[in-house]
């Protein structure tokens, strides 16, 4: 074969692979980019403002962490055809089932409140009243699920997820020194020395990378999409690409705030966007749109994770492929979560800061359980057959799970007792 024919053959093969990927892609990409939700965006914004480019190397380490944990949900969902909530009930009995389910519903609802806080704060920069934001977002999110097809919902969600990449062009707007980003960012070090504040930020970044809802969401999405064992390699690729994107978005956001806001006291992404609006309106607009989009995408996934869990546990019809009359309780749960969480944000003097802190504490009651159950289920030959964890996967998975449990627990405890850091 001549060079031209070889190139054409490889090009056709690449296009074919891309087409298959685009057909199968979804849960991994969506869950990973939704992981950069309003809380995540706030964490990365503040990290950049506080430590400049100094923690970029640490964010890179989070790529394999996110991939290894979420990849297990792909295999579990594709093999068992069950969501995580149902899998826990079935394998570990009703005590652990109810514990995980109720904890998930509570922590998801509280997280949903923070997504609404992020969205209302982002649009307030454009002088849009919170009540308008909450109503429009709730209507938009209902319309997204009401068309009765998982495929359509997924492709809309992927479009929203792509908008999450807005932080990449935003980084080019601030003209960072590439040399400085690489020399400071890629060499592992602890900016300012290892102290309580730095430790808190490291833990916060890990906490935003793996959240309990992600495990439940991706497994249920894999089941709803109808993925089978043969689709596992595609699901793994989807998750890997999603993990790369989520870390990439985080790094570019840190570059933006590390360049523009380094050394400033910044408490939230909305505050950062407001500051940038005064000096560079285009940049401020990008940050605000990104924050709104992050909250929106996070809210969709979190409310769906709860609705799927309700359906699995109570035996109700629970699929985005069903119309309202076919799965009324599934859509009722979705709407109820949206309306109540949005309503809380509109309550004058609602303890929103307390809610944000409370999530971190409640999440550490659920995350270890969800991760331990994941490892145990993936090691069960009767359930997983030939798709059970290999020794290498177990070493990596167990190591990461133990590290996440220790660090997220310390994060929750230091949130409860901040005096421990001083």
């Amino acid at each position: 074969m001549d060079i031209g024919s070889t190139f054409f053959y490889k090009y056709r093969r690449f296009i074919k692979t891309l087409k298959i990927y685009l057909f199968v892609a979804g849960p991994g990409l969506i869950v990973m980019l939704a992981d950069n939700d309003a809380g995540g965006i706030t964490t990365y914004t503040v990290t950049g403002a506080k430590f400049g480019y100094g923690l970029i190397w640490f964010l890179l380490l989070l790529l394999p962490v996110a991939y290894i944990v979420q990849e297990m949900t792909v295999r579990l969902g594709a093999v068992t055809k069950r969501g995580h909530a149902e899998a826990i009930f079935d394998a570990f009995g009703s005590f652990w089932g109810w514990f995980s389910f109720l904890d998930l519903v509570l922590v998801n609802w509280l997280t949903l409140v923070t997504e609404f806080i992020g969205m209302t704060a982002a649009l307030a920069i454009f002088h849009i009243p919170p009540v308008v934001t909450v109503v429009l977002v709730s209507i938009g999110m209902m319309l997204m699920v009401l068309q009765g097809k998982y495929w359509t919902w997924e492709k809309i969600a992927i479009l929203l997820a792509v908008l999450n990449l807005i932080y990449i062009p935003a980084a080019f707007l601030v003209h960072p020194s590439v040399g400085e980003v690489l020399s400071i960012g890629l060499i592992p070090h602890f900016p300012g020395g290892f102290n309580g504040t730095l430790f808190f930020f490291l833990m916060a970044n890990i906490g935003t990378t793996i959240a309990p809802w992600m495990i439940f969401f991706q497994q249920s999405a894999v089941v709803d999409k109808g993925m089978k064992e043969k689709d596992i390699p595609w699901g793994q690729m989807d998750t890997l690409i999603g993990s790369a994107f989520t870390v990439l978005v985080a790094i570019f956001l840190v570059v933006v705030t590390g360049t523009v806001l380094y050394g400033m006291e910044v408490e939230s992404a909305a505050q950062a966007a407001s500051i940038m609006m005064t000096t560079n309106p285009l940049l401020g607009t990008c940050i605000a749109i990104g924050l709104f989009n992050a909250g929106f995408l996070g809210a969709i996934c979190i409310s769906l994770a709860s609705s799927w869990a309700f359906g699995e546990v109570f035996g109700w019809a629970h699929s985005l492929n069903m119309k309202i009359r076919e799965a009324p309780w599934f859509y009722a749960c979705y709407l109820f979560a949206l309306v109540t969480a949005g309503g809380v944000v509109l309550v004058p003097h609602a303890p929103l800061v307390l809610i944000t802190l409370f999530i971190q504490v409640i999440a550490i009651t659920l995350l270890p359980a969800a991760l331990v159950f994941l490892i145990l289920l993936l090691n069960n030959e009767e359930i997983m057959g030939k798709y059970r964890n290999t020794t290498l996967q177990n070493i990596a998975g167990t190591g990461i799970v133990v590290a996440i449990i220790v660090l997220s627990t310390l994060y929750g405890i230091t949130t409860l007792f901040p005096e421990l850091l001083t």
Partner: protein, 68 residues
């Protein structure tokens, strides 16, 4: 015999009764864990129980210090 309906009225009591029945049905369905209780599984579940008890104690302590 005292039922939900006699205490809370026909409508609310009926809803509560159906919910209770549903929860009982779920509890019966998942009464026996499917997973084999090997040593590893037993240790992991014991760890989780201890972890959660310690966490609840910590939360209780925080609540108590806030009150006092």
């Amino acid at each position: 015999m005292v039922t939900f309906e006699t205490i809370l009225g026909h409508r609310i009591g009926g809803v509560l009764r159906r919910w209770t029945e549903k929860v009982n049905e779920i509890n019966r369905k998942y009464e026996t864990p499917r997973i084999r209780m090997s040593r590893g599984v037993t240790i992991a579940l014991l760890f989780l129980r201890i972890y959660l008890i310690l966490l609840v104690l910590l939360l209780g302590y925080k609540f108590w210090t806030l009150l006092t």
